[in-house]
C-alpha cells in the first residue's frame, strides 16, 4: 500500500513537472511566433522606419546603455551620471514613485476612514461618485497650469491615478469586515473604534488593500507615460522624442524598458504580498 502511494506521489510530481515544462514550451512557442510575425512584418513594410524589426530594436535597447546622460535629482538638486536608459527611467521614477506612494497613502487613508465611518461615508459618497469617473489624464490641464509639466505636474497625475484605485481597495476591504470578527473582538475587550480599526478592520482588509496597491502599480505606469507624452521628462517623453526623429527602434527600446521596470516591480510586490498574506 505504502509503495503504491509512493509511486503515486512520484508520478504526480513528475506529472506537474511535465505540465510546467509543457507550459513553458508553449509560452516560448508563442513568443517565437510573435517574433517571426514581427520580423516578417518589419521586413515587408515600406518605408522601413514604420515598423522597426526585432533585431534593430534589440540593438537600440543595448544602445540605451552604451551612452550616459546626466540627470538632476529633484529636491536634492545633485546630479547623477547614468547610462542613458537608466537616466530616463530614473527621471520617470522621480515623479512616479512620489505620486504612487502619496496617492496610495491618501487613497488608502480616505478609503479606510470612509469605509469605517458611516457619517463621513454619507457626506462624501456623492462627491466620490462625481470625481471618480474622471480619467486621471484629464487632470493634465490643471497639472500644467498649477505645477507646470515637470516632475511635480506628472507626479500630480500619477497621484490622482493611484488615489482612486487604492481608495476603492481600502474602502471595499473595510466594508467587507465580517461582523462576526468585530463581535469576537468586542467580547475580547476591544472597546474603542480606533482599536477595532487597527486590530480587526485593517488586517482583515489587508488583502484588498494590497491588491489595490498592486493594481495601481501597473495603472500608474500607463498614466505616467501618458503624462510624459505631454512633455514631462522620462521614458514616456523619450518614446515620443525618438519617434519625432523617426528613430522608431529607440521608441520600441523604451517600451521594452517600461515593460521590464513594471515586471520587476510587479514580481517584487507579489513576493512581498505572499509573505505578508501568508495566513490566507
Amino acid at each position: 500500500m505504502s509503495t503504491q502511494t509512493d509511486t503515486g506521489s512520484n508520478a504526480l510530481t513528475a506529472e506537474t513537472f511535465e505540465g510546467d515544462l509543457q507550459r513553458y514550451l508553449r509560452g516560448l512557442g508563442g513568443l517565437l511566433v510573435f517574433l517571426l510575425v514581427w520580423w516578417v512584418g518589419a521586413m515587408t513594410t515600406q518605408p522601413s522606419y514604420l515598423v522597426p524589426g526585432p533585431l534593430e530594436s534589440v540593438y537600440a535597447f543595448i544602445e540605451l546603455f552604451a551612452t550616459s546622460t546626466t540627470v538632476v535629482v529633484p529636491v536634492l538638486g545633485s546630479s547623477l551620471v547614468l547610462p542613458t536608459g537608466l537616466a530616463h527611467l530614473a527621471q520617470t521614477l522621480f515623479h512616479y514613485v512620489p505620486g504612487l506612494l502619496l496617492g496610495a497613502g491618501c487613497g488608502i487613508g480616505l478609503g479606510l476612514t470612509m469605509g469605517w465611518n458611516g457619517v463621513l461615508d454619507d457626506w462624501l459618497r456623492p462627491l466620490v461618485r462625481v470625481l471618480r469617473p474622471i480619467p486621471p489624464l484629464a487632470w493634465i490641464v490643471f497639472a500644467i497650469v498649477w505645477f507646470g509639466i515637470h516632475h511635480t505636474g506628472a507626479a500630480f497625475i500619477v497621484f490622482v491615478g493611484a488615489f482612486w484605485i487604492n481608495f476603492y481597495g481600502a474602502y471595499g476591504g473595510v466594508e467587507g469586515v465580517s461582523t462576526e470578527l468585530t463581535d469576537a473582538a468586542s467580547t475580547l475587550g476591544v472597546e474603542r473604534d480606533l482599536s477595532m480599526l487597527k486590530l480587526v478592520a485593517l488586517p482583515s482588509a489587508a488583502p484588498q488593500v494590497l491588491t489595490g496597491f498592486r493594481t495601481s502599480i501597473g495603472r500608474c505606469w500607463m498614466i505616467v507615460v501618458g503624462a510624459e507624452l505631454f512633455g514631462a521628462p522620462g521614458v514616456g517623453y523619450e518614446i515620443i522624442n525618438a519617434s519625432n526623429n523617426l528613430a522608431m527602434a529607440t521608441s520600441v527600446a523604451y517600451m521594452f524598458l517600461i515593460s521590464l521596470a513594471f515586471l520587476c516591480m510587479d514580481v517584487g510586490f507579489r513576493l512581498l504580498e505572499r509573505r505578508v498574506l501568508a495566513w490566507r
Binding site: E180, T187, L188, G189, S195, P203, S204, A206, A278, W279
Partner: protein
C-alpha cells in the same frame, strides 16, 4: 476570586446571570417576548429550541452584543450594557482572526486593554495545552480542522479568565466523533475552571450530555417553555435508560419536532 468561590460553594446556588422580562423584536417577528430566567454561579446551562426561537439572540444579549428592546440582564447584579471581559464568547463559525496564528488568537484577549497577567506567554501555553493543541502554536486557522478551530475559539474565550462562558452552537459544524471528544474536553475544562456556562444548541442529546439544567424555548415569539434539571452523573452515556428518558421528555416539550443527528 478563588476565596469567594470557595465560600460560595457552601451556599446554595448564587444567581450569576439574571434575565428579567427581556424582549427583542426585529422587523419581521418577535425574537424574544418577556423572557425571564436565571443562571446560578458555576452552573452549566443549556438553552435548546427550534431555529428562530431567539436562543442566539438571548445569548448575544447576555454577551452585550445585542441590545434588547425591553427588560434587563444582570450579571452579579450589574446591568449588562455592552460586551465585557467577564463574559467570554465562543461562536458557531469560530470567528477566529485568520491573520493571527493559534497563539496570536489566544493572546488577543490578554492584550486588551493591556496585558496585566504576570506571564502572558505562559498563560497562552497553558491554554494551548488545556485544549490539546500542542505543536500547533504557529499554525494559521486555515490550516486547522473545524474541531481544532473551535478548540482555539474556546481557548481564546478562556484566556482573559471570564467568569461566564457563552457558547453559541459551538459544535454545530464539527463531525459527530469530534463533537463527542469536544464535549468531554469542555466538561473537563468546566470542572477545572468552575465557570458559569450558557450553551446554546438545537441538539437535545448534546444538551442532556452537558447540562446541569436545560432551558427549553419555543419559537414565534421566543419564550421559555420550561426548564429541566438533569440529575445524572457525568460522564453520561447516551444509551442509558435515564438519558433516553430525559431526551424524550425534553423533546416532547419542544413545540415543533426537532430532529437530532444521532
Amino acid at each position: 476570586m478563588a476565596l469567594s468561590s470557595d465560600s460560595s460553594a457552601g451556599r446554595d446556588a448564587r444567581e450569576k446571570i439574571t434575565i428579567q422580562n427581556v424582549s427583542r423584536s426585529y422587523e419581521s417577528a418577535d425574537a424574544l417576548a418577556n423572557v425571564s430566567f436565571s443562571v446560578a454561579e458555576g452552573e452549566f446551562c443549556c438553552i435548546v429550541g427550534p431555529s428562530g426561537c431567539g436562543k442566539t439572540t438571548l445569548l448575544r444579549a447576555i454577551a452585550g452584543l445585542d441590545d434588547p428592546d425591553g427588560g434587563s440582564i444582570q450579571v452579579d447584579g450589574d446591568l449588562v450594557t455592552g460586551p465585557g471581559l467577564d463574559r467570554g464568547m465562543v461562536f458557531q463559525e469560530y470567528a477566529l482572526f485568520p491573520w493571527r496564528t493559534v497563539r496570536g488568537n489566544i493572546r488577543f484577549g490578554l492584550d486588551r486593554p493591556a496585558c496585566d497577567c504576570p506571564d502572558c506567554e505562559a498563560r497562552v501555553r497553558e491554554l494551548i495545552g488545556l485544549v490539546g493543541l500542542d505543536g500547533f502554536e504557529d499554525a494559521y486557522p486555515k490550516e486547522l480542522s473545524g474541531g481544532m478551530k473551535q478548540r482555539v475559539g474556546i481557548a481564546r474565550a478562556l484566556a482573559p479568565d471570564p467568569e461566564i462562558l457563552l457558547m453559541d452552537e459551538p459544535f454545530g459544524s464539527v463531525d459527530a466523533r469530534t463533537r463527542d471528544h469536544l464535549h468531554a474536553e469542555l466538561l473537563d475544562i468546566w470542572t477545572q475552571t468552575g465557570q458559569t456556562v450558557v450553551f446554546v444548541t438545537h441538539d437535545i442529546d448534546e444538551a442532556v450530555t452537558l447540562a446541569d439544567r436545560v432551558v427549553v424555548m419555543n419559537a414565534e415569539p421566543g419564550t421559555i417553555q420550561s426548564t429541566c434539571s438533569i440529575n445524572l452523573e457525568r460522564p453520561r452515556e447516551r444509551t442509558t435508560r435515564d438519558f433516553v428518558d430525559y431526551v424524550a421528555q425534553i423533546r416532547s416539550k419542544v413545540g415543533s419536532p426537532v430532529s437530532t443527528t444521532h
